[in-house]
Amino acid sequence: MFTLCLEFKIIMPRKRRELYNKEICACSIFGAMNRDGDRFTAEGVMKAIANMHVRGNGLGGGFAAYGIYPDYRDYYALHLMFTGHDWEAKRSAKQDFDAFLCENFDVVHDEEVPHRDESTVTDPPLVWRYFVLPNKKGDEAQLSDEDYVVKKVMWVNTQIEKAFVFSSGKNMGCFKGVGYPEEIGEYFMLDRLYRAYTWTAHGRFPTNTQAWWGGAHPFSLLDISVVHNGEISSYGTNRWYLEMYGYACTLQTDTEVIAYAADLLMRRQHLPVELVAKILAPPIWNSIDRMNESERKLLTALRMVYGPLLMNGPFAIIIGQTGKMIGLTDRIRLRPLTAATRGAMFYLSSEEAAIRLISPQLDDVWTPNGGEPVVGELKNIRMVKDEVIRLS
């Protein structure tokens, strides 16, 4: 006994340096939204993203879909992935998760996410969906439902080995995996089984990670999803700031930090999307100093308070949210993004050709300025600034 105690004393806890690897990738992104709320299948979106095939390398593709579960619209839809080298291992990962889920949530329905067996994708994990309500107990009863779900998602992603939450919002879901996006779309039969009013899609070209289904885009937390093209050089800074607010950056990709930043700023701190864009991609000081006093004060305060959330480096992102689709590029616009409208349809894409492929006639096509968000809302489209570069 005595020696054991002694040994305990000698082992000094040292905080290990973080040996995370940030992944780097280039990509194609696409988003389509029907602002009247009419829902449509992923057929066109799959065609469009396939048109940008060479922007990816088959190591990741995915989709976020909004409005797909009207029957369960009041329940959090958890899309779960279970990995393992064989069927048994996947089942056992699911069992671990199920035990956790029953403890913390009331499950109203669950099923395997349907997929095609005769598919080109390799080594698919077991993907399952659960429709749940929080079952808050003890201290956690004080948390809001959303904070509770976030906390549990973070817990699963960091603590349950081989289980990973793809998405956790209401009436929405993410479908993603290793392969070209069109293959993933076919695997999950998105063109036949689901109808959404917003689809966002992503084709991925990672330079340094081995393929992992959880590493594909979109990244999602609650109903916010992010597809992203670019590399964020401020990752280390963004990450340390977000960790202070309880976000565990486990996926080692910079896209994750955007999703968490969006959750922190939009959901928890209730900042309007225009201000969020000014935090992620603020105007340069030279312009701020020339603004009128009230604008200058506001933007100076935003940069002062939220400097650590500035996303530095090249990026174009599409953020999906219930009733909204937002496009944004970095402040010096190092990655492409084209916006377009046709009737009720609102499109965002890395390349204009992909939009023209599925909608040859467009009412409006333009290239948003760096740092200026383009926001599509149900029944409405809003450009934050009038100064958009009109191409046609």
């Binding site: 290990r16 340096r17 780097i24 050089s233 700031y241 960790e243 340069i284 002062m304 400097g307 090249p314």
Partner: protein, 504 residues
């Protein structure tokens, strides 16, 4: 008593070049050179030379060379020459050995074991000559979040924001008091700070009244244990107030400005009688605990109407991170930490060379501590002590500092050669002296230009390095350990720094 210490330096005069102008005789305040009329030549007493190189640079004929003496004691790894001589001197005087400047011992300089990142392919590097590159930094407390009220398109900020200092580049001049340094040197620092969009720190010797209106806006005024020169106007004319608890060169030790340096002007500024010793006690005698410190912080906030950030400067010692976190909770808006190699005008050598920890390790552990406690945004970190170049600055920021203080570097820009004799009051460069003849050697305008040139050059280099990493705003590098790698460090050192090894 005959001294058994031989001269440190050897003066070699090229008699063929020397024109007997007696310039060196006038330049050396230590009385090294003497003109001998009978021989019509200059004679030098090696014993008096401190190696400040003033006569070398100002000899119009380039006739003088001052180099380390060639004599040596029998080499001994344990009994180095310095150890031997310090001991001899103490045997001769029975006193504490005094010195100036920062720790010069070969403790590991971590800056030189850390390398920076650069972009290749996936993330374009940015050319600072073509693209904006932003170094602007805010020092002070930031709220956890900013509440806003949106009413038909107009955004109102609801959260009350704490006052912050805005610097155009993350380099500030460290505390150097009038009294320790000459008026000209002090004024040069103030002038350069205002010109470069940054701040100078008055140190504990007050701010001369006639400088307040012009330079107050770029002054951080210090409140130290001696409480010299403090009145309401002093506090309110400044941009920020700093409570000095400790200093890297002499943690746990107070200060002592000898009466000879307390001229009429210094006395008026410090609000003490002419010619009296100005003694700063080791502790503040009204701060014996963190609650006491908190009371002083809030007293100063009250005195300045909550319009100025309050900084607390401490020396980096073993458990300083926990103390600093307490200081943040006590209400400080800025924590200035001064590392092992921080400079001083006078300190006991035993303290200077043996107390404290390196600033590189300190930055990282303080930043981590405050993050772990979720209060990193509540205070800014200014790192001081051993910053020598722009690369040190950028590494300090990537390790987690918000800005740096430079002291020795600023003095070197003005002419200092780190001869370590600041405590003698005979600084030949006119920096660390109150002797009007010596102080007059430092031209305020020229010294200020040299200082602002330095800030400009470093800022430009920082921009280059940032651009190379594909980053165009300094705030995106803060605490970004991702862009640092260590070379030649032990595992524990990498752990404390929180960085990966090169190639990892």
């Amino acid at each position: 008593m005959k001294s058994f210490v031989f001269p440190e330096f050897q003066i070699i005069r090229d008699e063929a070049k020397c024109g007997q102008c007696r310039g060196c005789e006038r330049q050396c305040a230590f009385g090294t050179h003497r003109y001998d009329e009978a021989q019509d030549r200059l004679i030098s007493d090696d014993y008096k030379c401190v190696g400040c190189q003033r006569c070398v640079i100002f000899c119009p004929k380039d006739a003088i060379v001052v180099k380390p003496t060639q004599s040596f004691y029998r080499p001994n790894a344990s009994w180095s020459r310095e150890k031997l001589e310090d001991l001899k001197r103490q045997a001769e005087t029975g006193g504490v050995i005094l010195t100036g400047c920062g720790n010069d011992k070969p403790f590991r300089i971590y800056w030189d074991h850390i390398v920076l990142n650069a972009s290749q392919v996936t993330n374009p590097s940015i050319d600072p000559l073509r693209e904006p590159m932003e170094l602007r930094t805010f020092l002070g407390s930031k709220p956890d979040f900013m509440g806003v009220e949106v009413e038909n398109g107009d955004v109102e900020i609801e959260t009350k924001l704490s006052p912050n200092l805005m610097v155009e580049t993350p380099i500030l001049f460290s505390a150097m008091s009038y009294g320790a340094i000459s008026y000209n040197a002090f004024r040069a620092l103030a002038t350069a700070a205002c010109k470069s969009g940054t701040y100078f720190n008055t140190g504990e010797g007050g701010l001369p009244r006639e400088m307040r209106e012009e330079f107050g806006r770029c002054a951080i005024v210090q409140v130290a244990s001696g409480r010299f020169g403090i009145d309401a106007e002093y506090l309110n004319c400044a941009a920020a107030v700093e409570i000095k608890v400790g200093q890297g060169a002499k943690p746990g030790i107070g200060g002592h400005l000898p009466g000879e340096k307390v001229s009429a002007e210094v006395a008026a500024t410090r609000m003490i009688p002419v010619g009296t010793d100005a003694i700063s006690p080791a502790p503040h005698h009204d701060i014996y605990s963190i609650e006491d410190l908190s009371m002083l912080i809030y007293a100063l906030k009250e005195a300045t109407n909550y319009e100025k950030p309050i900084s607390v400067k401490i020396a980096a010692v073993h458990n300083f991170a926990a103390i600093a976190s307490g200081i943040v909770r006590a209400g400080a808006d800025i924590i200035a930490i001064d590392g092992l190699r921080g400079g001083t005008g006078a300190a006991p050598k035993a303290i200077r060379d043996n107390v404290g920890i390196p600033i590189e390790l300190a930055i990282s552990s303080l930043d981590r501590r405050l993050r772990d406690e979720g209060i990193r945004n509540r205070a800014s970190i200014i790192a001081a002590g051993g910053i020598r170049c722009s690369a040190d600055v950028i590494k300090a920021i990537a390790l987690g500092a918000d800005a740096v203080y430079i002291g020795s570097a600023a003095l070197i820009a003005m002419g200092c050669t780190l001869c370590q004799k600041c405590y003698t009051g005979k600084c030949n460069w006119g920096i660390c002296t109150q002797d009007p003849r010596l102080a007059g050697r430092l031209n305020t305008e020229i010294a200020a230009t040299r200082l602002s040139n330095l800030i400009h050059a470093w800022s430009h280099e920082i921009s280059e390095m940032l651009g190379g990493m594909g980053i165009n705003a300094l705030e995106s590098l803060r605490g970004n350990h991702d862009h640092l790698r260590g070379i030649g460090l032990y595992e524990w050192e990498l752990d404390v720094l929180g960085i990966k090894g090169a190639g990892e």
